[in-house]
Symmetry: none
């Protein structure tokens, strides 16, 4: 199979065992996913322990990119999913793997990146990582036994994507849709608002500031604003802050 560039990017956040990274690579390549990103892997990278379990999916390991922070790893993603089975106190849409594949197909078709974040084996993603995502990706499992192995969680997403490539009718959107802005552009908007708010007395009382920042992030992340919308919003913020000395 010629590799289809238009496939999701797997982002492992602080993965612990090299063996699991290798199994993830194998699972990805079984279903034609190739782009793997590692955010500060516990045992460094490259990690020889990943080789044997990859069972020949060397191309995925060889091309894996390493990042120090989640933010840098997701910067170019137009849409970002956090996988988690725990309930979070965040207003985010929760979608199944199958649904994710359906709804990202027009985004991928435009050459934009779709990021799927998976947390460390033991603990899963931290709340601050989940907060970065547009949506939560979940796989309905036996409620009495929900602990999916990391590579199993990855293979189910990869499998669903591959199924969509072989069967499903293409999905399209009405209107002149340019797709969501990159994560970087979104961060720029959030930083802009945050900066302007920090100059007044918005973040008060002090001990509520973190929660207020998370709320703000949630409000501006969920809508999946397009690049043009982000640009307009920045213009609006600038105009609103206009007469203030900054």
């Amino acid at each position: 199979m010629a590799w289809n560039m238009l496939s999701p990017t797997i982002i492992l956040v602080r993965p612990q065992l090299g063996e699991n990274i290798g199994m993830v690579a194998r699972a990805m390549w079984n279903f034609g996913l190739r782009e793997l990103r590692l955010v500060s892997p516990r045992d460094g990278w490259p990690n020889p322990a990943a080789g044997p379990p990859a069972a020949g999916a060397d191309v995925v390991l060889d091309e894996a990119q390493v990042f120090e922070t989640v933010k840098s790893a997701v910067a170019d993603c137009a849409i970002l999913y956090a996988t988690t089975i725990r309930q979070r106190d965040m207003l985010k849409e929760v979608v199944t793997a199958r649904r994710m594949v359906e709804e990202t197909s027009p985004v991928l078709a435009q050459g934009q990146k779709v990021g799927l974040m998976f947390g460390p084996e033991r603990s899963g993603l931290e709340t601050d990582d989940v907060a970065l995502a547009h949506k939560i990706l979940t796989v309905p499992v036996n409620p009495a036994f929900g602990s999916l192995n990391l590579s199993q969680a990855v293979i189910l997403c990869a499998y669903e994507w591959f199924q969509s490539q072989t069967d499903a009718p293409p999905c399209e959107l009405h209107g002149d849709y340019e797709g969501p802005a990159t994560h970087d552009a979104l961060e720029g908007l959030i930083a802009h608002i945050d900066n302007d708010l920090s100059q007044g007395d918005y973040y008060f009382p002090e001990h509520r500031a973190d929660a207020m920042r998370r709320t703000l992030r949630g409000i501006f992340t969920r809508p999946q604003f397009t690049t043009q919308e982000v640009r307009t919003l920045r213009g609006i913020i600038k105009a609103l802050s206009g007469n203030r000395k900054s």
Copy 2:
């Protein structure tokens, strides 16, 4: 979840590694499959190596049945599938996991057994084993890298079966979702922004003002902000406009 007896039976033919049997048990129980049969496992049974990778799916291991021959293990199956990726010189229907789930649902509903056979890790099923099956079960994979780990092959079948059992909505919302704000509340927000912007030079040039207002309305309407989000946004607008004389 109460266990649904009406689920496929997983039959591992001459499995080699205890670790893999444990991972298969975990994969099965993740998706509510409970009945595991082992045909002459290489290292005997019970095998302590299976415990840790099962990660708590002990019920599957404890109830696993051991058989000496494939024929005895499949004797009570009403329909039997052989999983294989190799081409066989046999006239048998080849179905995907999804199709298998669809077509076996009436069989299971009658209390009959559906058997899914998986071969040894290294070599897969022998031709004589495949010959026993009614059909061949296959999962379309990357033709360049078709080697699925045993537990991965099992989980994909279990996953498809579980999907067919749940009417889980493809997407829902995490967090305390109160639904979108009323139209009135939204209008209040838009009027608030519009008012503040009108006091600066945002709507310039004049003849573009209507289009700019439409864009602004679009941006704040599409996300279906909740009442709480609208309230927060108004706080943000107020803070941003803060030092301005209004």
